[in-house]
Amino acid sequence: MTDMLIQLDMESKEPLYTQLRNQIVEGIASYQLKPGDALPSVRTLAQDIGINLHTVNKAYKQLEQEGFLIIQRQKGALIHPGGVPKADDRYLHELTNVLKPIIAEAKCRGIAYEQFTTICQEIYLSLHKKGDNTS
């Protein structure tokens, strides 16, 4: 049985649906959520977290659009059984655009190239570890 813990910070500036979306993406990246796994229904998850149904629905809808989930009428939300669509040119372009201001800020604040890549490495590898013992 999968055991994915979602953590949301109610006081954070980041909107709840974005936090929820990011947590689920992390869960998929770290193999805690595997292709074909069912997610709780919008209502159940909203009740367990104690937030508005629309917030959960918004996160699920976004994940569906991005190809992480499929939402079926009967089975509810599933992690895309065919796996997440592989990166294409458009995604690479988007990734560059998102990273650019982050790297620029880090550079302004005096973070060296090596230090930045080390941080990236650590984050990337930490996502590998979690799922390894279960898969």
Binding site: M1, L5, I6, D9, M10, E11, A38, P40, T44, N52
Partner: protein
Amino acid sequence: MKLTLSLTLLLTMIPIFIAIVCMPFWTRKTVSFGVTIPRNAYDHPEIKKMRKSYVLISSIFALFVTVAFLVASFIGDELTAGILYPMLIILYIVGNAFIYLPFFQKMRELKEAQPEWHTKSNIITVDTSFRKNKLTYSNKWFILAFTISFITIVVTLIGYDYLPNDIPTRYDFNGDILETVPKTYRSALLLPILQIYMTLLFLFINTVIKNAKQQVEHTEPETSLQRNITFRKRWSLFTIINGTGLIVLLTLLQLALMIPINQQLVAMMLIIFITIVIIWALFLSFTTGQGGSRLKNTTSGNLSHKDGHVIHRDDDKHWKWGIFYVNRNDPSIFIEKRFGIGWTNNWGHPASWIIFLIIILVPIILILVIK
């Protein structure tokens, strides 16, 4: 009143007293007197002292109620016992709320004075696979109770001529009839229809146990959820078995009107049954605790957890007196009680009020229709 009867009744009261007196030890260790506290603060000397003094005050009150009951039962007869017994229990429970409230107030002040307990963040943790577990026993078990109730209806209709001309509506503790109504199809069917209502009520409770909000203790997420599953399953089993048992007994009560079954025997069985239910509930409360908090961990509890000294999910502002949950933004209707064993409802959810009204109104309407 007969001594054996008053002693039997007292015997059923004692487990209720114990349950309420020991309540601070049975709630979750992250909630003290209706106020959320860090997991590590459970052993704070001030809170320990409060638990002790609550037990002391509540025990004295229980003793007072016991003496009152004994004195009254020597003076009065069975009729007074029938009224006195439920009234004293209600008095005890309501009176105890007034003992609890100052402790709640003091706990809040204590928390206010401890800034190191609070985090700047308010983090909520949920397990996405929690509801893939079997949380309760199936509602299909109630088919048995429904079948028995329907059989009672059929038997009542077939054996209508064998029913006495006066249908009893109230009994005393000896099984003697206190009040009757003239026989009509309506009055004859009162009891079996009540059985259907009660079966629906038990089915509803079992559904509440299944659907109530998930609660993760952030210091030990996996084990706290495992314990919570055990907690839900045990109370689900309790509800199904005792619910069905009660339906069977009520059928016997109806049958006793048509065929010569000793009424005293049925009344005796009812008292024994109630005693078993109360002791079972006490046993479950003691061994399982609220939310499963008294269960031994499958892995050792990690008290030195880095966040054991702070509160993670602080929703005190939604808990009026630590008793009533009112949160309009929460779509869940049912949630674990803070000071007590079991579940309560979210008064901020409109469905709460509708359910509450239905449960209250149905038996009132039923009785009005008969009379």
